[in-house]
Symmetry: C2
Subunit: 371 residues, 2 copies
C-alpha cells in the first residue's frame, strides 16, 4: 500500500539530502503507510505515543503498539512493536515506545541530520534519537506531495463520498418540524454506519437556521419549526480518508426568500465547479465566487470557498483569497459557497470535484437542488 | 472549576521544588482546568498542538486556539490564545502556538528546573522554553493525585453513568435475531445522544458471542442468530469525563449453559463489589475473583478484573494481579469479571462503584441480571 506516496517522499528527502527522518504526524504516517488507527475516542489509554515512521537507508519502518500490529501489517512495511496493555505489570507504553525507537534508530549507520516532524514528535522521543545528530524540522514537508491524489487514494475518497451520500439522504428525510438537531444527527450517523457495516467517524455541522451562529456547529437540543432552514455539512472518515459535503434542507416549505438564496448558492456552486480546472488559480476562483454572491446583493460568507481533502479534512488547495496555488489534475477540491442571515436563515451547498485534464468530475452525489 | 485539583497539584510540585511546569497531556490539562475539547474526529486540522497549561509563580495559564477561547474561559483560568483558522493567510497554528508559549514562559522570572510532560509535549514546544533551564520529566506525576475524585468530578461521572444506562437500555432492546452488531450500536449511540441533546463520544465493545475473539471489539456487519450471546461494553465521554459499563444480552432465549455462565459472572461481580472497600488491596480483589471463576470450572478471563475511571477510561486503581494499591474512599472503580468460550459464547458484567467509608456505592444502574 501507498508505494507511490513513499516514492514521492523519498524523492523529496533525497533532494534535501536527508537520509534519515522520523514522521510523527498522524496525517504523515497515514499517508506514507495507509495505517489509520481509529480516532473516535481520543487518545488510546494504552498508547505510548503516536504511531511513528522511521525512514533510513531507503527503508520505511512503522512503529506501533503490539495490539496494533495486525492492522499495521496490512501496510506491508517492516514493523517495530512495543508492549502496551498488560495485566502483569504497570502500563509503561510511553517508555516502551521510547526504548524501541532508541534501539531502531541506533541500529542505523547513516550519518547527517535527521529530519523530524518536531511539532508532532513528543520531546521524550526526540530525546532518544542518536546523540550528536542534528534534528532538522520537516514539518509540513509532505503536504505539497499530498495534493495530487493517487489512484489508491481516489478509491478511498470515492468510498467515503458514497457513504456521505447515504448520510445526506437520511438527513434530508429527518429535517422536519418537531425533530431536533440531534435527532437529525442520529438519523445521519446511523444511516452511514448501517451502510458501512462498522463505526465511521462523522462530522461536521448540523444546525438549524435560527441559531445566531448559523454557519455551523455540532447538533444540539434545538427543535426545528416549520420553515426553518437546516445546514447539514457532513464528513466521514473511513479507512483514514475523509469525505465532505453540504446540503441545505427545510423543515416544511421554504419561503420565497429562502428559495432565492438557495438558488443563488446553487448557481455559485455550479460556477465554482466549472472553474475547477487545471491552470486555475485558487484565489481567483475564490474572488469570482465571492463577487458572484455580492453582486446579487447578499452578504459574502466569511469562510473559505473551498479546500482540499484527503488524510485530513482541510488541506491544500485552499480556495481562499490569498492563495496563488494553481490547480492540477488529480487534486480533489471541496467547493462550498453559502449565504448567512444570522438568527434567521442560512444556506450552504457543497460538492467535491476531482480536477481532471477535461471537465471537473463531481465526486459527491447528494441532492443539493430544492426539487 | 477544578480548584481542588490545582491545589493538589501545586502541593505536589512544591514538594519537589518545581516552581515552573508545562502540562501537555490531554488528561492533565483536562483534570487541572476542566477544559475538554471534543475527541470524536481526531486531530483538529486547525490546532497547532495540544492545549497546554503553564504553571509558574503559583499561577495556572491555559494556552488554547482562539476558536477555543470561549469554551476554555469557563475554566476561570487566565488564557493565552493563538490564531488558528483564517482565510487571510496560510494556517500556521503550530508556529503560532510555539510563539505564544515562548513569550508566556519568557515573561516569568522564576528560576530552577521546568517540569515538563515530555511524552506529550511536542519537541518543537519544548525547544522554545527558556534557554538554560533544565527540563525535568513530570510525566505521570498527576496520576496519583487523580485517584480520589472530587465532588465536581463525581457529578460529571454520575452524569455519564446516567447516560450510559440509556445506552444499555436501548442495546438490550436491540439485541435480537436478524439485527447486526452495527444495528445494535446505532440504537445505543442514538439513544445516548438523544438523551444528552448533543454528540457524545461512545465506546467500547459491541460483539456477538460467535466471534473467535469474543472478549470485545467494535461492531461489524455480523448478524445475530437465535441464542447468540452479546457483549455490550459501553462507555461515554461527556464533559471530558468517562463512564463505563458492561452487560450481556441474548438474541432470544439463552441456553442452560449460558444461564449458568451468566449467573456465575453475576455472582463474581457481586463478590467484587462487596470487596470494594477502604483498605482492600487491588491485587487481592483480583486474585479472589479469578479464583472464584476458576473454582467453578470455567476458564479465567485474560483481562483486568477492574480499573479506575475519570478523565481517562482506564486508570488507577487497576484491579490486576500485581497491584498492591490500597483502595481509599473517593476512588471510583469499574469491576468486570467475564467468561469467554471463543467462537461460541461469552459473558461479561460490569458495574462502577464508589469507594466510601461505608458500603460500596454502585454508580451504574443498567440491568445485568437475566430476569
Amino acid at each position: 500500500m501507498h508505494n507511490e506516496q513513499r516514492e514521492r517522499a523519498q524523492h523529496a528527502l533525497q533532494a534535501r539530502k536527508i537520509e534519515r527522518a522520523l514522521f510523527a504526524a498522524r496525517a504523515s504516517v497515514l499517508w506514507l503507510s495507509g495505517f489509520a488507527p481509529p480516532v473516535n475516542l481520543g487518545p488510546n489509554p494504552f498508547a505510548g505515543g503516536p504511531p511513528l515512521i522511521w525512514y533510513a537507508g531507503g527503508t520505511w519502518t512503522l512503529l506501533v503498539m503490539e495490539s496494533q500490529a495486525a492492522d499495521a501489517a496490512t501496510s506491508g512495511l517492516p514493523l517495530v512493536t512495543y508492549p502496551d496493555y498488560t495485566i502483569a505489570a504497570p502500563i509503561t507504553s510511553a517508555t516502551n515506545l521510547a526504548a524501541v525507537l532508541r534501539e531502531t534508530t541506533a541500529a542505523d549507520s547513516a550519518k547527517g541530520p535527521i529530519g523530524v516532524e518536531l511539532h508532532d514528535c513528543p520531546a521524550a522521543l526526540a530525546n532518544v534519537l542518536p546523540a550528536g545528530s542534528e534534528l532538522t524540522p520537516i514539518d509540513g514537508r509532505l503536504e505539497p506531495l499530498r495534493r495530487r491524489k493517487t489512484a489508491e487514494e481516489l478509491a478511498l475518497l470515492r468510498r467515503n463520498f458514497a457513504l456521505v451520500a447515504e448520510g445526506q439522504r437520511a438527513g434530508r428525510a429527518a429535517v422536519k418540524p418537531g425533530n431536533r438537531e440531534i435527532d437529525v444527527w442520529n438519523a445521519v450517523e446511523s444511516a452511514i454506519q448501517a451502510v458501512a457495516g462498522r463505526r465511521v467517524a462523522v462530522g461536521n455541522d448540523c444546525t438549524v437556521g435560527y441559531r445566531d451562529m448559523n454557519i455551523g456547529g455540532w447538533p444540539l437540543d434545538l427543535a426545528l419549526r416549520p420553515g426553518d432552514s437546516f445546514i447539514l455539512d457532513l464528513s466521514t472518515q473511513y479507512g483514514g480518508y475523509w469525505s465532505d459535503s453540504c446540503a441545505t434542507y427545510y423543515a416544511g416549505e421554504p419561503s420565497a426568500r429562502q428559495i432565492a438564496m438557495h438558488n443563488l448558492a446553487a448557481a455559485a456552486l455550479e460556477l465554482a465547479i466549472d472553474r475547477a480546472r487545471p491552470g486555475a488559480v485558487s484565489g481567483a476562483i475564490d474572488a469570482e465566487i465571492r463577487r458572484f454572491i455580492a453582486d446579487a446583493g447578499y452578504p459574502v460568507y466569511p469562510h473559505h470557498t473551498g479546500h482540499g481533502i484527503g488524510v485530513t479534512p482541510h488541506e491544500e488547495p485552499r480556495i481562499v483569497p490569498y492563495n496563488r496555488l494553481v490547480l492540477e489534475p488529480g487534486m480533489v477540491v471541496m467547493l462550498e459557497p453559502g449565504i448567512y442571515l444570522p438568527g434567521e436563515t442560512a444556506v450552504r451547498l457543497e460538492h467535491a470535484v476531482l480536477i481532471t485534464d477535461g471537465a471537473p468530475e463531481v465526486l459527491t452525489s447528494h441532492r443539493i437542488l430544492l426539487c
